[in-house]
């Protein structure tokens, strides 16, 4: 039991810190991904907007889904949501709590990506370079250029090497303007998110503390119960397998005794522990037969109670009568994966 206790305390105390760690790693991964990503604005009128907004919005969505996928508790939430009611009621508040806490953690990496993207400025520069206000920043009344051509020229603003509109609007002026707007948006976004997080965290104790404590307790309980059940099943499977295998070897050795009826059985009086462990299989031929039998004809998943001690060593009388609810199964390869 002590081992269980240690393991579960580890899980419980570290569950939150483990999930926070994953959160932090994903946030770092998103900044790393952004800096490693080779941003290549197409510098064409309609493609710029699609590319810029795509880079701004698609990776956060992917990171959000990834945040859910990497969270172990998602399967727990789904299980609790879909299970039949049975003898235990379902509490919607607990499900909501689990969902909220998972969603909050999954939101961190996308928010980091959006913030880094906006503060860097390349995406907004690429997406909105065709919407720069020419009247205030450049020469709106430039002759010889139709609207479409102006758009084409402006679309090349992010690509300094091929920009040919210095008379229309200076490249640095436009880039500075767009980057300023982008950074302002970025800081406002971060401020908004931080204020929301602060409000969510600080208003909770003011309004629904008791309900919160209840939901938190029961969501931890469900988690622990599931882990404990898995552990118990694993222990059970281990004992089941041990007894099954032991009964298999005992069965083999009684079969061999029955076959070797002309040889007297050696009295195990002076056998000792090693001989006991040999389970009556003491030569190559017998061992090979045991192994072949294990492969060709695995024992049924049905344990007999321990044989009653009888005088002549025959286990025949101790065998239980077969009962209808568990017929002998001769399955060749079945493993009870609990």
């Amino acid at each position: 039991m002590d081992k269980f206790r240690m393991i579960f305390q580890f899980f419980q105390s570290n569950q939150e810190s483990f999930m926070n760690g994953i959160c932090g790693i994903m946030a770092l991964a998103s900044t790393q991904m952004y800096s490693a990503f080779d941003f290549n604005c197409p510098c064409l009128p309609h493609y710029n907007l699609a590319y810029g907004l795509g880079i701004l919005l698609v990776p956060p969505f992917i990171l959000f889904l990834l945040g859910f996928v990497l969270n172990n508790n998602i399967s727990m939430l789904a299980e609790e949501w879909r299970r039949p009611r049975g003898r235990r009621g379902k509490d919607a508040a607990v499900l909501r709590y689990m969902c909220c806490s998972m969603a909050q953690r999954a939101m961190i990496a996308p928010v980091v990506w959006l913030a880094v993207t906006l503060l860097d400025g390349k995406c907004i520069t690429c997406a909105f370079c065709t919407s720069v206000p020419l009247e205030s920043l450049g020469n709106a009344s430039h002759p010889h250029l139709s609207q479409g051509e102006v758009q084409r020229v402006l679309a090349r603003i992010p690509c300094k090497e091929i920009y040919n509109g210095q008379q229309l609007i200076a490249n640095e002026v436009a880039v500075r303007y767009l980057r300023c707007i982008s950074q302002a948006l970025g800081w406002c976004f971060v401020l908004l998110m931080t204020t929301l997080a602060f409000l969510v965290r600080s208003l909770r104790p003011c309004f629904s503390q008791a309900a919160f404590l209840k939901s938190r307790y029961w969501s931890h309980y469900i988690d622990i119960e599931r882990k404990l059940f898995d552990e118990t099943c694993a222990e059970h499977a281990r004992s089941f397998a041990k007894v099954c295998i032991q009964q298999f070897f005992e069965g083999m050795s009684t079969d061999l005794e029955a076959a070797r009826h002309h040889l007297p059985r050696k009295a195990p009086a002076d056998a000792g522990e090693a001989a006991e462990k040999l389970l009556g299989i003491t030569d190559q031929g017998t061992m090979n037969m045991a192994l072949k039998s294990w492969h060709r004809c695995k024992p049924p998943l049905h344990l007999h109670p321990p044989a009653q001690p009888t005088g002549n060593g025959w286990a025949g009388e101790g065998k239980p009568p077969t009962h209808p609810s568990a017929p002998q199964k001769e399955t060749a390869a079945y493993y009870s994966w609990v």
Partner: protein, 306 residues
Amino acid sequence: MDRFRMIFQYFQSNSESVMNGICGLLALASVKMYTSLDFSCPCLPQYNMAYGLGIMFVPPIILFLCGLILNRQALVMLEEWRRPAGRRKKDPAVIRYMCSSIMQRAMVAPVVWIIVTLLDGKCLICAFSGSMDPQKFVGFANVSTEQVQQLLAKVPCKDDELMRNSMSRKAVSRYLRCCSQALGWSILLILIIAAFLARWLRPCFNQATLLQARHWSNYIDIEQKIFEETCCEHSRLFAHKCILHFFESMQQEIRLHRFSLPREGEEAEGGEGPLQGITDQDQVNKLLKTWYYEKPPLDVSQAHQR
């Protein structure tokens, strides 16, 4: 008991140091954020001041809120503040103490940001270059009013073609940076003197009240942690009992449905040992199916009475 004692001591000694650590990390993060930020002044007359002052004041607000969010004690203080009085009185001195210590820690990172910004100077140059008096600088003295605003707004941009080699730009820039650094150092000096005086003079006033407030604020913090720890322990034991009870009730059901006579050895065997009387593939399958379709009720009182 020993384990509990070790845990208490750990929490006691490390609550303050954990919070100080978070404070320090946020301060370092603010410096790092500033150095990695690509400061690009728009160099346009109306936008400069908004951008410069925005960069100087919005991130400190964000850092302050982050400092409050990441501080566990803030939550404890709020709970203590909002809880119904019940059978335990509320002490406003304790709440005030907790509030002030939380605020002090949360203010460190914003102050670091503001000081780093001022000492670097770029923000102030960007924000106030348009407010300079053009008569003081040779290059801007004889220019028309609109043009001078445009030119002054371009001072923060060294690489602008108009400003590249302008002496007056360098003069304005130097002047503003000097003012900015003077302001930065002054603020730093004032804050350090204030902190020094506060710490040094505190024992002269209300030391006993302070000791009490500090003790009870630590107590509330530890009590909260222990309550959570006890709830975890309890839920673990509850789950354990619930599952054992479930296995036993499954075993009883199996026994009820068996047609053969109970064998001698079985009564003693059932319920003890890890197999819990479940010794068959079908029985295991039935157990797992029942676990999913009919989870046991959250009630282990019968298990206690056995």
